[in-house]
C-alpha cells in the first residue's frame, strides 16, 4: 500500500529517477515505509549524537584545567545549551521513535503503522526542527543584530528568556525548533497508539505483545500528556517575546516560577519517555541472551504503567530550592521515592530473567548488563536527591549533572547501543563486528565511569554546574582532569562504533533471518524485511511465536 503512493509521487519525477544517486535520495525522501522512516530517525539521531557529543567534549576540554581559555564564557553557555537541548530532542527522542517505528509493526505482525503519511510528516517536522536548532548559529543574529545559538540553558528559565534579557533571536530558535520536533513526536505517538490498538495480527492479544510494544504504548501516552505543557509554555513565551504578553514577565506581575512548573511538568516525564524505551530494549535483549522467557511478564507490564502514572506527579523535585511550601516539598519527595518501587521491581525481574540462564556474552548483552548496574546507581542517587535537605545542599552542583548523566548515558545511551548491535542484522542483513563491538563496549564503559563517577565527587566538593571555569587549588583540578580524559575515551569508543558500522555495512558477516535465535515476530521475516513485512499476516498463540515454531514439541502456549 505504501508502494502505490510512492509510485504516484515519483511519476512526475522520471528525470530524477534516471540519475542513480538522486533517484535513491528521492526514494528515501518520499517514502512512507515505517522501516525506512525508522532508519532515518535513528541515523539522524546518531548524526546529532556526534555533533552534540563533540560539543560536550569541547565543554570537557575547557573544564579539564582551572582558568582554561579554550572558549570564552558566552560560547561556553551556547555549548552547554545546545548540548543539552540536542541530546534530549535531537538524539534521545529520534532514536527511540526510530526503533519504535521500525519494530512495533514488525513485532505485532502488522504491515505498516496505522497512518503512514502522518508518520512521514512527523519525521520531516522533526528533521527540519532539528536543522532549525543548529541553523541558529548562522541565523541567530536575526533582526536585532545580537546573539547566536541559544544560550539560556536547556530548561530556559524565565525571566532570562524575556526579550529584555535575551536579545536577538537565539531564544526564538530554541522555542520554534523544539516546538516543531514536539509536534513531530506527538504525531508519532498518536500513530503508535493507533497501530497497537487497531493493527495487531491474529492471536496477538494485548497480553501477548512483547514487552517492548507495551513500553512503546506507555511512552506514547506519556508523550501525549507530557509534551503539550512544554509546547504550551513555549507558545506563551513566544507571545511574551513578540506580542508583549506578560506570562513570565516578572515586571508586570508575571511569574518566573510558573515557567519552572510548566517546564518540569514536561521535563520529568520526559526523562521517563527517554528511559522506558531503554527498559523495552533490555526486556527483549536480556531474555534472548539468557535463553529464558522474561521473568514476571505481567508484573513487568504493570510496573511500566505504574512508572508512567507516577512520573507525571514528581516534577517539582527539580524545584526544591525555589521555596515551595513544606507540604509541597514533602509531597514531591514522597512521590519521587515512590517511583523507585516499580523501577526496583523491573530491576529484580531482569535479574530473575538472568538468574539460572545460559548466558551468552555477546555485545548487546554486555551493554545490557552494564545498563543494569549503572541504572541501579542512577536510581539510588536519584533517591538521595529526593531527600529535600540533601537536595538543598547539592542542587545545581555537578552531583546532579553526574546523576542525570548516569541515567541519560549510563542507562539510555548504553541501551541504544545494545539495540543497535541487536537489531542491526535485522535492519541491514549484516552482523556488526563482535571484536570492534567489544572494543567499543569496554572503552565506552571505562570512559563513562572515568567521567561520571568522578563528577559526583566534584559536585559534593561544591562545584556548581554551568560554570565556564573554576579557580585552582580547590580540590577540583584532578577530578576535572580525570573526567575530561574519560570524555576523550568515550569519544574514541564512539569513533569505533562508526568504523564498525561503516565496515560491517560493506563486508560484515551475512546475518540470515534470525542470527540470535530469538523469539519475537521481527525475526520470522527476512533481513532486511520486505516492504510489506510479512508475505501472509502471521498468527500467534503465545508471547514467543518463533519459539513455538522452532519447538513444536514444547510450545509456550501450553503454559501461558
Amino acid at each position: 500500500m505504501a508502494g502505490s503512493i510512492e509510485h504516484e509521487l515519483t511519476l512526475s519525477a522520471d528525470d530524477l529517477r534516471s540519475l542513480p544517486i538522486l533517484g535513491k535520495v528521492h526514494e528515501w525522501v518520499v517514502t512512507v515505509d515505517h522501516k525506512r522512516l525508522g532508519v532515518m530517525y535513528v541515523a539522524g539521531g546518531l548524526f546529532f549524537f556526534a555533533i552534540a557529543g563533540l560539543q560536550a567534549m569541547t565543554i570537557r576540554l575547557q573544564l579539564a584545567m582551572p582558568n582554561a581559555g579554550i572558549v570564552p564564557p558566552e560560547v561556553f553557555n551556547r555549548l552547554l545549551t545546545m548540548h543539552g537541548t540536542a541530546m534530549v530532542f535531537l538524539v534521545g527522542m529520534p532514536i527511540l521513535t526510530g526503533f519504535f517505528n521500525y519494530l512495533v509493526p514488525l513485532m505485532i505482525g502488522a504491515r505498516d503503522l496505522a497512518f503512514p503519511r502522518l508518520n512521514s510528516f512527523g519525521f520531516w517536522l522533526w528533521f527540519f526542527g532539528a536543522l532549525l536548532l543548529y541553523f541558529s548559529y548562522i541565523g541567530g543574529d536575526g533582526l536585532y543584530g545580537a546573539g547566536s545559538a541559544p544560550d539560556v540553558g536547556w530548561f530556559a528559565y524565565a525571566p532570562l528568556t524575556e526579550r529584555a534579557f535575551s536579545r536577538g533571536n537565539c531564544t526564538d530558535y530554541w522555542i520554534l525548533s523544539i516546538f516543531l520536533t514536539s509536534v513531530g513526536s506527538t504525531a508519532t505517538a498518536i500513530n503508535l497508539i493507533a497501530t497497537t490498538f487497531s493493527m495487531r495480527c491474529e492471536g496477538m492479544t494485548l497480553t501477548k505483545m512483547p514487552v517492548l510494544v507495551w513500553l512503546s504504548l506507555v511512552v506514547s501516552f506519556m508523550m501525549l500528556v507530557a509534551l503539550p505543557p512544554l509546547s504550551a509554555a513555549q507558545a506563551m513565551l513566544l507571545l511574551d517575546r513578540f506580542l508583549g504578553a506578560h506570562f513570565f514577565d516578572t515586571q508586570a506581575g508575571g511569574s518566573a516560577v510558573l515557567w519552572q512548573h510548566f517546564f518540569w511538568i514536561f521535563g520529568h516525564p520526559e526523562v521517563y519517555v527517554l528511559v522506558l524505551p531503554a527498559f523495552g530494549f533490555a526486556s527483549e535483549i536480556i531474555p534472548v541472551f539468557s535463553r529464558k522467557v522474561i521473568f514476571g511478564y505481567h508484573v513487568m507490564v504493570a510496573a511500566s504503567c505504574a512508572i508512567g502514572f507516577i512520573s507525571v506527579s514528581v516534577w517539582a523535585h527539580h524545584m526544591f530550592s525555589v521555596g515551595m511550601t513544606p507540604a509541597g516539598n514533602s509531597f514531591f519527595a514522597l512521590s519521587t521515592m515512590l517511583v523507585g518501587v516499580p523501577t526496583g521491581i523491573k530491576i529484580f525481574n531482569w535479574l530473575g530473567t538472568i538468574w539460572g540462564g545460559k548466558l551468552r556474552f555477546r555485545v548487546p548483552m554486555l551493554f545490557s548488563l552494564a545498563f543494569l548496574f549503572q541504572f541501579l546507581i542512577a536510581g539510588l542517587t536519584g533517591i538521595m536527591l529526593s531527600v529535600v535537605p540533601f537536595d538543598w545542599q547539592l542542587t545545581d552542583t555537578y552531583f546532579v549533572v553526574a546523576h542525570f548523566h548516569y541515567i541519560l548515558v549510563g542507562a539510555i545511551i548504553f541501551m541504544d547501543f545494545a539495540a543497535i548491535y541487536y537489531w542491526f542484522p535485522k535492519i541491514t542483513g549484516r552482523m556488526l563486528s563482535e571484536t570492534l563491538g567489544k572494543w567499543h563496549f569496554w572503552l565506552f564503559l571505562i570512559g563513562f565511569h572515568l567521567t561520571f563517577d568522578t563528577l559526583h565527587f566534584a559536585g559534593m566538593k561544591g562545584m556548581p554546574r554551568r560554570i565556564y571555569t573554576y579557580q585552582p587549588g580547590r580540590g577540583l583540578d584532578t577530578l576535572n582532569l580525570i573526567a575530561s580524559i574519560g570524555a576523550l575515551v568515550q569519544g574514541i569508543a564512539v569513533l569505533i562504533l562508526i568504523i564498525n558500522v561503516v565496515k560491517s555495512l560493506r563486508s560484515g558477516e551475512v546475518a540470515g533471518d534470525d542470527p540470535w535465535d530469538a523469539w519475537t515476530l521481527e525475526w520470522s521475516t527476512t533481513s532486511p524485511p520486505p516492504e510489506y513485512n510479512f508475505a501472509t499476516p502471521p498468527v500467534v498463540r503465545s508471547r514467543r511465536p518463533l519459539w513455538d515454531l522452532k519447538h513444536p514439541e514444547d510450545p509456550d502456549w501450553r503454559y501461558e
Binding site: A194, L239, S524, F534
Partner: protein
C-alpha cells in the same frame, strides 16, 4: 525461513477480531494531547486571576456571551443529527444539518470577533495591557483557533457534499471528525466557566 509466516495452528486460537477503527483511536489520542495543551492555558488563566497590576479588570469589561455559547453547544447536536442522517443514507438531510453546523460555528466566530473588537477598540484591552489581557486573549484565542480549524474542515466536507462526493462509506471519518467537534465544544464549556464565571 525467508518471509515465511509464523503460522501456528490457526484453528485453535481464541482470537476475536474486535479491534477498534484506527481513526477513532487516533482522534481519541489527539483529544488527549489537546486536553493537556488546553489545561496548561487554563491553569495559567486561573493562576493569574486577580494578579493584574493595572486595569481594565474582567468584572468591568466582560459580559457573558450567552448567544455564542448556545450556538456553539447546539452545533454539537446538529452535527450528531448530520451523522445520523448519513448513517441512514440520507445525503440530503446530512447536507442540511451539516450546513446548520457550519452556520452555528460561523456565528460563534463572528460573536468572538465582535467581542474582541469591543475589548480592543472601546475598552483598550490588548494582549500586552495586563495579565488579564495576556491570559484572556491567549486562552480564548487558542479555543477560537481550534474552532477555525474545525470550520475549515466542515467547509471542506460541505463543498464535497455539494459536489456530490458524499456517501455512506465516509461515515467512520465523518463520525471521527464529529468527535473532534464535540471536544472543541467541551473545551468551550471549560473556557466559559474559567473566564466568565470563576474569573469574573
Amino acid at each position: 525461513m525467508s518471509a515465511a509466516p509464523a503460522t501456528i495452528d490457526a484453528t485453535t486460537t481464541d482470537w476475536k477480531p474486535t479491534m477498534p477503527y484506527k481513526g477513532r483511536v487516533g482522534v481519541l489520542a489527539l483529544i488527549l494531547t489537546e486536553s493537556a495543551f488546553f489545561s496548561i492555558f487554563v491553569v495559567a488563566y486561573i493562576f493569574y486571576i486577580g494578579k493584574s497590576l493595572t486595569g481594565p479588570y474582567p468584572k468591568d469589561v466582560l459580559s457573558m456571551p450567552i448567544i455564542n455559547t448556545i450556538c456553539l453547544l447546539s452545533s454539537s447536536i446538529t452535527i450528531v443529527l448530520a451523522v445520523r442522517a448519513l448513517q441512514r443514507g440520507s445525503i440530503r438531510s446530512f447536507g442540511i444539518w451539516w450546513f446548520v453546523t457550519l452556520a452555528l460555528g460561523l456565528e460563534f466566530m463572528t460573536g468572538t470577533a465582535a467581542e474582541w473588537h469591543r475589548l480592543i477598540y472601546h475598552e483598550g484591552l490588548s494582549i500586552g495591557t495586563n495579565l488579564f489581557g495576556t491570559t484572556y486573549y491567549s486562552l480564548v484565542g487558542l479555543h477560537a483557533l481550534h474552532v477555525t480549524v474545525g470550520l475549515i474542515l466542515i467547509l471542506l466536507v460541505m463543498i464535497l457534499t455539494m459536489l456530490g462526493y458524499m456517501n455512506r462509506n465516509h461515515i467512520e471519518r465523518i463520525d471521527c471528525f464529529s468527535w473532534y467537534w464535540h471536544f472543541v465544544d467541551a473545551v468551550w464549556v471549560v473556557v466559559f466557566i474559567t473566564v466568565y464565571v470563576i474569573g469574573r
